[in-house]
Symmetry: C2
Subunit: 242 residues, 2 copies
């Protein structure tokens, strides 16, 4: 998906920094000081700054006034807005695909993914790992379906935020009662989305994609309601401040 970082100092700094940020080692709002960071990573400031610049491009860092970088901090409202935005953009991808038409072969690939997702429900218990991977592939395919580089790029940007990714808030396995029902509901939407696009029903496709993103918001709400005070919510929410 995202271009693989090269095996050089900048690439290593990029990976290491991203890991620390997403892992919560560097919480939202933390200022990144170049000299200590560079020493700790055993590289010079130059590739470190290049890596920070790229992370700013990704939206994980922001530039501080007076120079330097901060780990970007998000509120719960931001998370909600990012999910909403993903829904809007995926809805647009779905609508444009329906309106403009999609080559038979690419539509078939989406159908294959949908069928494979169906397959996750065959066993006695849902294959969660496989569902999650296929879900990501389905959304990646959707992203490129209308063949718009501009739109695909913005969607990619949005999904880079850890809490806006389609797999960020899949239903919580701890909620056993609702777990399979919720996944089945999401999968029904996948099927309906494919059907609407194939039938060139743009408005329907858009509406379904938007509603589909709302599942993430619902699962987010569930996480927050069941929050143990002080306990971490979810890896996807490392950058979120209360």
């Amino acid at each position: 998906m995202a271009a693989q970082p090269k095996d050089n100092q900048e690439g290593r700094a990029l990976i290491a920094l991203r890991e620390r940020i997403l892992g919560g080692v560097l919480p939202g709002g933390t200022r990144l000081f170049e000299v200590p960071l560079a020493e700790e990573m055993r590289i010079s400031r130059t590739p470190l700054r290049a890596a920070m610049s790229r992370l700013a491009e990704e939206g994980l860092l922001e530039r501080a006034r007076g120079g330097g970088f901060l780990v970007r901090a998000f509120t719960v409202a931001d998370v909600i807005d990012a999910i909403e935005l993903r829904g809007v953009l995926e809805g647009t991808a779905a609508r444009l695909a329906a309106e403009r038409g999609v080559p038979e072969e690419r539509l078939a690939r989406l159908a294959v993914l949908t069928a494979e997702l169906d397959g996750c429900f065959q066993g006695a218990t849902v294959d969660f790992e496989r569902y999650s991977a296929l879900n990501g592939a389905f959304h990646a395919a959707l992203q490129h379906l209308p063949g718009s580089e501009i739109l695909a790029r913005e969607l990619e940007r949005t999904k880079t935020l850890p809490f806006a990714s389609p797999s960020a808030f899949l239903p919580d396995e701890t909620a056993h009662a609702d777990f399979e029902r919720s996944l089945a509901h999401a999968q029904a939407q996948h099927r309906a989305l494919h059907e609407a696009i194939a039938a060139r029903e743009g408005a329907r496709a858009e509406a379904i994609a938007r509603e589909h993103a709302r599942l993430a918001r619902r699962n987010l709400d569930h996480l927050i309601r069941n929050k143990a005070p002080g306990a971490p919510l979810s890896p996807a929410l490392a950058l979120v401040i209360d």
Copy 2:
């Protein structure tokens, strides 16, 4: 709107590069070589690279494989998609503003802008300069109306592309017959948009904002149809390759 570059080497390089790119001196697809560029600008490669990195963030440059930067090239299809995307995002801003509600005072500021835009039509001839400036202000206000930092940021990003800005394809003054009629139509949509948001009519507000962006596409089509072969189309299209 965009943060003012600082008065340092990086800031100067940023301004100079942006100017050359938007001015068409560096056409889409041009590779930027650091050494000659730095020499020409009388700065070292370090701040030049920092500036290029920021322009990549803006979407004006892209990273080349194997390192370095290219001036990003756009097709006419990209321009159409970017306008569509702006419509979608402005539509979302309008819808969320309507759904979530807007503080009275901010709505009043939008009303003032709308009234001032009306004022451009009072004289014998439309005050085009003033209309253009107020139009930009109206869209900037809309962008921040729902109070969503996430959405505002993406809209800002999209509008940074010169051909996706709300003022990029205002009707061409050379088409005298349609000129005032087209501006008046756009202004009617501004008024309707304000009205819909004030009345909390989210779906209507979204539809109006989308249709409003379509005016830009219409004017773009008009430009392309009347294109003199070989002649430059519009400053906004400097990065577009046929």
